[in-house]
């Protein structure tokens, strides 16, 4: 049982190929955010998955890179300490060297694979940014997909990085000057792979493309207090007429919700003033802006939700529905 799923937001069936041919403009689920994708679970609920943006992906990778580098340095230092304790000779020191080589290899090649195989399907860097790997077709994320997407990192990052670093070290020690063309080729190569996600709608890396995966946002949100709950007592003090409670639409309601959650006194005062003017409300003595707004929020939401039950969703204040 897997999710039915529209990988492409476009309504066009005829789109094909990486090359050439004009394709029709894609139709996005959410015109405001082009990274939202329809994703219908077997229960028939559209999860509206949001893809990780290129910036978040890059930040996660940098974070993982730092962790790997730190791990590498610690490894190197501890191996050096152990080897020097053994006087840099004999089978013991070689044993330490072998352990270190193995650990370095696994750190480089299996760091990503190990973490992405776990239930969270994310490396520490991705977790920090609320990202996770998922299969593009909505099915299970398999271990071979994870292996493939990370094996491709070898040509995307590690190989050119190693070559450039090696070239730099060699030119520093004056052993052998690296051909400028080789360096240029390395930079162009890495550039193509690094920028690849920017040139497709789904922000796929070459590894994602081959493994049939993508990186989606799966942030952990906590349940915030319901702003309408503590307003219900106050509402008694603020008796809004039906006309006053019907001054705005859903868009304004959600802006108001945002303002109330931020609790910035200056914004509260400004917004309260605007609303009072709009609905002809004269402030009573000792009336707090926050109280007024909370009460108005509850009244407006009550009114709009009632209309919603009858099938009318008033988009914004200009909507006459």
């Amino acid at each position: 049982m897997t999710a039915t799923f529209n990988a492409k937001p476009s309504a066009s069936a005829g789109r094909r190929g990486l090359f050439g041919r004009r394709r029709p403009k894609p139709v996005y689920v959410d015109p405001q955010n082009h990274l939202v994708r329809e994703f219908v679970t077997p229960e028939g609920v559209d999860l509206r998955l949001q893809l990780g943006s290129a910036g978040e992906r890059a930040a996660a990778f940098v974070l993982d890179g730092v962790i790997i580098t730190v791990g590498f340095v610690i490894l190197l230092l501890s191996a050096a300490a152990a080897a020097s304790a053994m006087g840099f000779k004999g089978q013991g020191a070689e044993f330490v060297g072998a352990i270190e080589l193995m650990a370095a290899f696994f750190l480089r090649s299996f760091y990503f694979i190990f973490f992405e195989l776990r239930p969270a399907a994310a490396t520490p860097g991705k977790m920090a940014l609320g990202l996770r790997v998922a299969a593009r077709d909505g099915g299970r994320l398999t271990s071979e997909a994870i292996f493939t997407r990370n094996a491709l990192r070898e040509i995307e990052v590690f190989m050119p990085a190693t070559l450039l670093l090696l070239g730099w070290l060699m030119s520093m020690t004056g052993a052998e000057a690296v051909d400028g063309w080789t360096v240029l080729a390395g930079i162009v190569w890495t550039g193509i792979f690094l920028l690849f996600p920017l040139f497709n709608r789904d922000r796929l890396r070459v590894g994602d493309l081959l493994a049939g995966t993508w990186v989606v946002k799966a942030p952990r949100r906590t349940l915030a207090v319901d702003l309408a709950s503590d307003a219900s007592e106050r509402l008694a003090r603020f008796a809004f007429t039906p006309d006053q409670a019907a001054a705005y639409g859903v868009k304004e309601l959600q802006v108001l919700e945002d303002v109330l959650r931020r609790r910035d006194p200056r914004t509260l005062a400004a917004v309260a003033q605007r609303i009072r003017r709009k609905i002809d409300w004269t402030a009573g003595p000792g009336e707090h802006d926050a109280d007024f707004l909370a009460a108005y929020y509850a009244a407006l939401r009550g009114r709009l939700e009632n209309r919603l039950l009858f099938g009318h969703r008033r988009k914004d204040k200009f909507d006459k529905a």
């Binding site: 190929g17 193995m102 969270a120 070898e154 040509i155 049939g212 007592e233 939700e305 039950l309």
Partner: protein, 329 residues
């Protein structure tokens, strides 16, 4: 005051407990502590998840609390990934990999394996003939990998390399070095297949050239048979793994170049997953090869014993990959 309460608020108050319970259980499960969940809790998760999914549908239709909807979306998404995520235990997955997935993937790749092996063998044969005719070819083919093993070296020193048992060294270290190096190279060979398989073909040809040139050198000194034992004790495994890595690269390159009925994207990801299975297996093979080369070759110095090991390992691999077997459940 009851009548002043919003319907959406009552809706939330009635279900909030379940949502929080699901959140706690998911938190436990996601941290990899699935074992710390009791059976009862594990059975609860799907039920709570479906309730949350239905809550999300209702909330979208009736509630205008944006933060509540965002919370439910996040909770349902996490629940979806947990409930429909991989369920099998690690050990089960491992057995299935060895009993079914790996051999099936390799035998499904026979066409690419044949191409990969052909390129390798043709390159080796070409190098052999060229170097035999004109020794000057040797340096341009082997280059830095010769490490003193060239036509200027004496027969005795060439022979010494074949039977040097490195006494006094920790052989495990050598095995590890060989494994990490070979694994890195074969992952690279696989990954390069993305560029329509061209770099992979070049890579396979280069490996073949080096091998062919070496054989020509040793054969010219009458050490051909001995070199064969030295190479094949681990080569039966290592070269096989190398050819499979090339084949995995070709599968991807071919899928990108000729997607057939599918879209290029679908063909590429299908090939990528198939080749991924093979590559996990290649890493396993290279561990075996590293042990055989680093430890086996340095301690077993008799030619026929080396050939015997080569024959046995090759037969095992071939039987494991290509013998028809009953459908695994």
């Amino acid at each position: 005051m009851k009548d002043l309460q919003l319907k959406s608020h009552r809706f939330r108050a009635e279900r909030e407990g379940d949502w929080r319970r699901l959140e706690t259980l998911l938190g436990k499960g996601e941290r990899g502590r699935a074992r710390s969940l009791t059976d009862e809790e594990l059975l609860q998760i799907p039920v709570l998840y479906r309730a949350a999914a239905s809550s999300l549908s209702v909330a979208r239709a009736t509630s205008l609390d944006a933060s509540l909807i965002a919370y439910l979306e996040s909770l349902t998404t996490r629940g979806y990934f947990f409930v429909y995520g991989p369920r099998t235990k690690f050990t089960q997955r491992l057995t299935k990999f060895f009993r079914h997935d790996w051999p099936a993937a390799v035998s499904g790749l026979w066409r690419e394996t044949a191409i990969s092996a052909a390129i390798f063998i043709i390159a080796a044969a070409a190098a052999y003939f060229l170097v035999t005719r004109d020794n000057a070819w040797y340096d341009s083919m082997v280059g830095g990998m010769a490490q003193g093993r060239d036509f200027a070296a004496s027969t005795a020193s060439l022979k010494k390399v074949l039977y040097d048992n490195d006494s006094g060294h920790f052989l495990g270290g050598f095995a590890v070095f060989l494994f990490t190096h070979n694994a890195q190279v074969s992952i690279l060979c696989f990954a390069l297949g993305f560029a329509f398989g061209v770099p992979t073909a070049l890579f396979m040809a280069e490996q073949g050239l080096v091998l062919g040139a070496m054989i020509a050198l040793y054969a010219s000194r009458g050490l051909g048979w001995q070199l064969g034992g030295w190479l094949m004790i681990h080569g039966a495994t290592e070269l096989f793994a190398c050819i499979l890595a090339g084949a995995a690269g070709f599968r991807i390159g071919l899928a990108v170049a000729f997607p057939g009925d599918k879209t290029r994207l679908d063909a590429a990801s299908e090939a990528g997953r198939h080749a991924g299975v093979v590559m996990i297996g290649v890493v396993v093979m290279l561990i075996v090869a590293g042990l055989l080369e680093g430890i086996g070759r340095q301690t077993i110095l008799i030619d026929w014993a080396r050939y015997a090991i080569a024959g046995v390992t090759l037969t095992l691999w071939l039987g494991f990959f290509y013998l028809p077997r009953r459908e695994a459940r």
